[in-house]
Amino acid sequence: MLRSGRALSPLAQPTLAVFSAFDMPSSDSVIDRPLAAAAGPLAGTPILEMRGIRKTFPGVVALDNVDLTVRAGQIHAIVGENGAGKSTLMKVLSGVYPHGSYDGEIRFEGEVRRFAGIHDSEACGVIIIHQELALVPLLSIAENIFLGNEPQRWGVIDWAEATRRTRELLAKVGLKESPAALITNLGVGKQQLVEIAKALAKRVRLLILDEPTASLNEHDSNALLDLLLEFKAQGIACILISHKLNEIARVADAITVLRDGASVQWLDCTAGAVSEDQIIRAMVGRELADRYPARARLAPEAGETVFELREWHVAHPVHADRDVVKGVSMKVKRGEIVGIAGLMGAGRTELAMSVFGRAYGRRIRGEVRMHGQPVDVSTIRKAIVHGIAYVTEDRKGLGLLLEDDIRHNITLANLEAVSSGGVIDGGAEFAAAADYKRKLNIRCSDVMQATVNLSGGNQQKVVLGKWLFSNPELLILDEPTRGIDVGAKFEIYSIMAALADEGKSILMISSEMPELLGMCDRIYVMNEGRFVGEFAAAEASQEKIMRAIVRQGLA
């Protein structure tokens, strides 16, 4: 296994404290290493030390000699591309992979630990909150928080006590909800807070959060990060796994970079700011000249209008009296990338899905035009025929047949193209899929591989391939880079740029403002079901977009 720490060291800038993995204090030195001499980043007792962790699966080395040191009261970020070994490392730490199934040593609070299961690690105060939340939707907040851990008196659950303690915990995490509220009625951001409250209900010494803000909007993300800082002040150490480098830059005290299953770099943030570029360099092991591909922006007035929406209204599918989209009008031109910015719940996904064959909502009013002509998009089939494609934000839930192979996924929305008289031409189908594998650079052994085994970025490329195969004129991309790593993001951006150059129109919904600013020709701002602003690329900025949202909120 290549230890790239040395290769990278020339990149380290003198003003920043950058240590290669080789410079880390070696493990055999001691229990309770003398720390007095250590300054800054080394201050504080290590609460967790993982040394030389090696974990193999049949045919694959998932982790090779990984070291990780987290100090008491630190927020320690772990970054790395998808597949770099972050989740595996956390599973080793939390006992999901029990002692004996890996090599190396885990020391927690000074003692060597041999966790046989998640119960052992939780008993020591190591609590992990997974990316996919583990809450029971139809139980209340209090029931979820004390699930399996209910306060009881003579074997009977003491609900008064549970409710009282839930109130305390909710106050701690800053969530204003009744303990009796059902999880299913809460937004994702609030559910995340409930998960944290649940962790606090146990004795937590080290909190591990796996991509906690992946599905949160900016406001909720900030609130969550503030909460982590508060925990830090209370002495709770924290491991934060995230793809969002700006968040890491904001809260982390130290960063461990994983690449290809090895810890390649350890960055100290207390000595001075660590730049995002620097982290990215360590993650991908190469210089990323630009995070967005260069493309000539379309002039605001140029080009033929391909897609037009007029006075579009959509009511909520259950509460029909509530309008989710309120009179939206918009245009997308040939070769244009148009963004829709907005907070979670602004109605962006609902807008897109309602246009795409009424896949969302009811009592839909308004007009859709393609090339100036009104078209009927009342079913998904018709929308596809009229050249509209919608790439979902939820690729696992709504985009892919996970158990099926790449080939079948790519042709699914346009089977007619590879069949005649209802009979599929297997050869043509294979050729079509292989073509997209090559064009989109889908990393797989062959197109007969099941999509469930692909990384997030490659799954996203399969979904993109599926919709490109339907040969759309308007491609609606809903959070196209959610949960995928930096390298794959760049590839997705490159594909988008190339498609726009070919004359496709792209409508991109994103909660990441930098990517909207980096990619779009024009940006609409949506809030509470309405468009509240429109900016050309040249004049747009994060501040202006936020101001448009906030101003409308005040009005």
């Binding site: 079948h408 699914l412 297997g426 490159s494």
Partner: protein, 401 residues
């Protein structure tokens, strides 16, 4: 799309690893069930001192299992689509009763009555499917209700009596054999010839399919393996027909069953409708967002199931030459078991027609073999239950590995 490629970072493609051992390992699961069937047959062949594979017994094996196989074809589609149909036994019993009442009591022509019965089966399936697909009522509940309703309606139709016998032509559906034009005394030549033709035709089709795959450089099994497998398969068909030809020839119902099997195998593997059913069962929401009319498709699988249950009901009634109130009792369990033994997934999206057929014959051979051995019906059920559980456990274990 050349511009797109230019902008992408180049990536070294990994060459797929090919080897005989690797190929065998990857495909063992696929052939595992077939090998199990062969093993079970060999076991009973030895235990019954060669009775199992005697021409007479082979013929019986076909006749006894034909209606289960026919229903398994439809059930496979229902299960792949992510549903279940518990009503098939009752529906087949009800349709058998309807046929008897029409043909015996009202003296309808056998052809007209049979067609009407198939239509009634399709309508029954359609009504149940409508509740499942459009009203989103779980299929387990809808068809559980259907099971009770049609069990009761069969009793109503027959007024608690057995009705029979059927007209002679109708009986031929289950007791007829394809006519022999060569007047073979000990060997029915036309049956053997038909078997040889089918074997050759299937072999030819496989060759053509392989040529197509090679042309598109799709991952392909080693040539020796391909030839060995398909020659063995063709030889098995010829041998099987030889055995049957030395008794009374190929049963009519075998021809029907085999034709249906080929049709459904083709539909599931090669047609857009088949592909969409797998997509529906694999991820209904993703299928819908891909422009697939998921409700209509689910309805269709139930209509198809109803029609096949009706056909099975007719075959069973013709075989008994009478419609009894107990006809069809418990068939649904054998049919569902056949699909799961054959590798279908209870959560939908996975399953093969040939698997379901093999599953049906695994159950059938065990029934037959244990009966010859004189094992009581009590222990037969215990053993069948254990085999079902074991087969699915092995399948799940293989998938997780």
């Amino acid at each position: 799309m050349t511009t797109m490629e230019d902008k992408m970072t180049p990536q070294i493609a990994e060459a797929p690893v090919r080897s005989y051992g690797g190929f065998l390992k990857n495909n063992l699961r696929e052939y595992g069930m077939l090998l199990s069937l062969v093993a079970i047959m060999a076991f009973f062949q030895v235990m019954t001192d060669g009775t199992l594979l005697k021409p007479l017994n082979l013929t019986n094996l076909i006749l006894q299992n034909s209606y289960i196989v026919i229903m398994a074809l439809g059930m496979l589609l229902v299960i792949v689509a992510g549903h279940i149909d518990l009503s098939v036994g009752s529906v087949s019993g009800f349709v058998g009763a309807l046929a008897a009442v029409l043909m015996v009591n009202y003296e309808w022509n056998f052809a007209g009555a049979s067609l009407l019965c198939l239509g009634v089966g399709a309508v029954i399936g359609g009504v149940q499917g409508w509740f499942v697909a459009y009203l989103k009522i779980p299929s387990f509940i809808v068809t559980l209700a259907g099971m009770l309703v049609f069990k009761g309606l069969a009793l109503v139709l027959l007024q608690g009596q057995s009705v029979g016998p059927f007209p002679d032509q109708f009986q031929l559906l289950s007791s007829g054999f394809i006519p022999d034009m060569f007047n073979g005394e000990t060997l029915r030549i036309s049956s053997l010839a038909l078997g040889a033709i089918v074997a050759a035709a299937l072999f030819g089709l496989k060759l053509r399919e392989r040529a197509g795959h090679v042309k598109h450089s799709m991952e392909e099994e080693p040539a020796a393996f391909f030839l060995g497998k398909n020659i063995a398969f063709a030889a098995a068909i010829v041998w099987f027909c030889w055995m049957l030809a030395s008794y009374k020839g190929l049963p009519d119902v075998l021809v029907v069953m085999f034709a249906l099997m080929l049709v459904y195998d083709f539909v599931t593997r090669r047609t857009t409708v088949g592909r969409r059913i797998y997509a529906l069962g694999g991820n209904a929401k993703a299928a819908r967002l891909s422009g697939i009319k998921t409700e209509r498709l689910a309805l269709l699988t139930f209509v198809n199931m109803g029609a096949l249950a009706a056909l099975a009901g007719l075959v069973f009634a013709a075989r008994l030459n009478t419609a009894t109130p107990k006809a069809g009792l418990g068939f649904e369990l054998d049919v569902i078991a056949a699909c799961f033994i054959g590798g279908a997934s209870a959560s939908g999206g996975v399953g093969k027609v040939l698997g379901a057929v093999i599953g049906a014959f695994v159950m059938g051979v065990m029934n037959n073999g244990m009966s010859i051995l004189g094992i009581g019906i009590d222990y037969q059920q215990v053993i069948k239950g254990i085999v079902l559980l074991a087969a699915v456990c092995v399948d799940v274990y293989n998938k997780n590995k």
